[in-house]
Amino acid sequence: MDIRVTDLAKEFGGARALRGVSLHVRSGELMALLGPSGSGKTTLLRIIAGLETAERGSVFFGDTDATRLSVQQRHVGFVFQHYALFRHMTVADNIAYGLRVRRRSERPSRAAISARVEELLALMQLEGYGGRHPAQLSGGQKQRVALARALAVDPRVLLLDEPFGALDAKVRKDLRAWLRQIHAQTGHTTVFVTHDQDEALELADRVAILNSGRIEQVGAPDEIHEQPASAFVASFVGDAARVPVRVLGGKAMFGETVLEAPGQAMADGAGWLWLRPYDLRLTGKGAAVVAGEPAGKLDGVIVGVRRTANGRRVEVRLQDLDVIVEADAPAGLSCGHGEQVSLAVLGGRIFPDNAK
């Protein structure tokens, strides 16, 4: 079932949490809401669930207008950041809760409920844990119980608030792969909130980037990363450094250097060129320009070298400017501290200067 929200606005004691958010989550899709804290992503999720009410705008599940439906009527599966497991109940009772509170006419039989619980315990790889209490579980296990409890009622959509926020790095990684698998098996339309870009880019089919109550961009992870729609997205997702440029006739001028403005039209004026490490190719000082490459070159001094798992990441301070950009050093190039180098600009995104 797809989720459509239109023009949602919400205020908390004078602070604008959402300023007109519209979003379409396709049926069966796994979507991430990514943004810094205070961007409104959790508020958006809670409004979809019916845990908050918006001042304006509407929420649709498929063709059903859910805007005025109570949280119970919306029939969503919600997984809370700190799991919110019922601590006085066993794992099995937690999972069965949503089925047991149904009206008698809709409630499955005892046997059907316990069969469903067993099925979910198996799906969550928690066989044999049904009799335990939440306090006896690890964080990752609690998270899986919370997910099982949400799935037990066969919800219209599945909503997860920072699902891995409270877990350590190793468990997060395992659970990520595992959530992808669960999603593939159950096929629920799923929305999860995160502030971790790796999590969003790796896990989601599409990512919605939020910033101060607005959606900046919605797109597939590759799209978000390679074609950021705004300066905010460029800076928030992935490593990027910005260089002040003047745009003139489709070319970006950086001091005396002319950079072939990489592939996007922009009005003349001041702007920023956002450069990711792979937009730059490091060469020795004064090395010849490789044929077919844009002519733009930046000169600078190496101020730091980091060894990463896959190569060397070099920090270069650009000449005459207090800007440090990062680039990957090709194997075999000496890059000692303080060495003069040139950087060929292969790509990058230009956004107008917001101050103007």
């Binding site: 700190h82 919110a84 209490h133 949400a150």
Partner: protein
């Protein structure tokens, strides 16, 4: 491989920071023990000694005296009304404070504490001024033939006022710490508000609630000041146990006074033992509930 000796050293150092020298510990413990013995255990023992000074027969006679029986019954009745009321008020107030944000919230928290900061005598006087014969609502109440002051309703009102904070004070910090996520989870799973309260909230707060009720009950039975002002001290009618003790004492009927007082003391002990038993028996569950 860490050096075991080094580790032991570190443990010793960190220990010594928070642990006093043995002699200092002994002095502190002795001081506390002597203080408790002098100000708590000794008076408690004296009550029972005085009560039994003329033998068990006189003790029993004092307790079965019709006025004493009425006082005991009245005290139980007042507690039976006031404690459930404050149970409901306390849960409602804590719920409102812990789970919602609304204007005037900090004012409400202050109000909850008011009975602790106001002298019980003042509390009693307020009710007399409000409901008494010459009071604000007195003539109106009289025209309907409703008696509040110097009767059961006044005593209940005063007791409710004085014991109001006990349940709320126990619950507010716990419920604030627990937040509303559990209830929200129950609601998203389809539970009604009442169902969520009964199956999720109540189990989460049950131990703190029980503490609060125990303390509230002990105070409701033992309250003197506020009740004294509104009761009118009508023997065999509006005298609660503490008031009865005072009257007997003023009449130099020490055996009877201490006999009734011993009942109150026993009540206090039972409360304490009940609380300790709960902590011992359900300590783990209480710890879980608090988490």
């Amino acid at each position: 491989m860490p050096d075991p000796d080094l580790q032991r050293d570190r443990v010793y150092v960190s220990d010594s920071v928070v642990t006093e020298a043995p002699w200092a510990r002994a002095v502190i413990i002795a001081f506390a023990a002597i203080f408790l013995a002098l100000f708590l255990l000794l008076p408690l023992g004296l009550i029972f000694r005085e009560a039994l000074a003329k033998g068990i027969g006189a003790y029993w006679e004092a307790l079965t005296d019709p006025d004493a029986v009425t006082a005991i019954q009245l005290t139980l009745l007042v507690a039976a009304i006031a404690v459930p009321l404050n149970l409901v008020f306390g849960v409602a107030a804590s719920w409102a404070i812990a789970k919602f944000d609304f204007p005037g919230k900090s004012f409400l928290i202050t109000l909850v504490d008011l009975p602790f900061s106001v002298s019980p005598v003042v509390a009693g006087l307020v009710y007399v001024l409000l409901f008494g014969a010459q009071g604000l609502l007195g003539p109106w109440l009289q025209s309907w033939n409703i008696q509040i002051v110097f009767a059961l309703p006044g005593i209940v009102l005063a007791t409710v006022f004085v014991t109001f904070p006990f349940v709320a004070r126990e619950l507010i910090p716990l419920m604030q710490e627990q937040g509303a996520a559990d209830e929200e989870a129950a609601l998203t799973l389809g539970a009604s508000g009442l169902r969520a309260f009964l199956t999720v909230t109540l189990p989460n707060i049950r131990w703190a609630l029980l503490y609060g009720v125990l303390l509230c009950n002990a105070r409701a039975m033992g309250e003197f000041g506020a009740v004294s002002v509104v009761s009118g001290h009508i023997r065999g009618l509006t005298n609660t146990m503490p008031l009865h003790v005072e009257i007997l004492y003023n009449e130099y009927n020490f055996v009877a006074a201490f006999a009734v007082a011993s009942l109150l003391a026993i009540l206090a002990l039972v409360t304490l033992i009940g609380k300790t038993f709960l902590e011992w028996r359900y300590g783990e569950a209480i710890a879980h509930g608090r988490r």
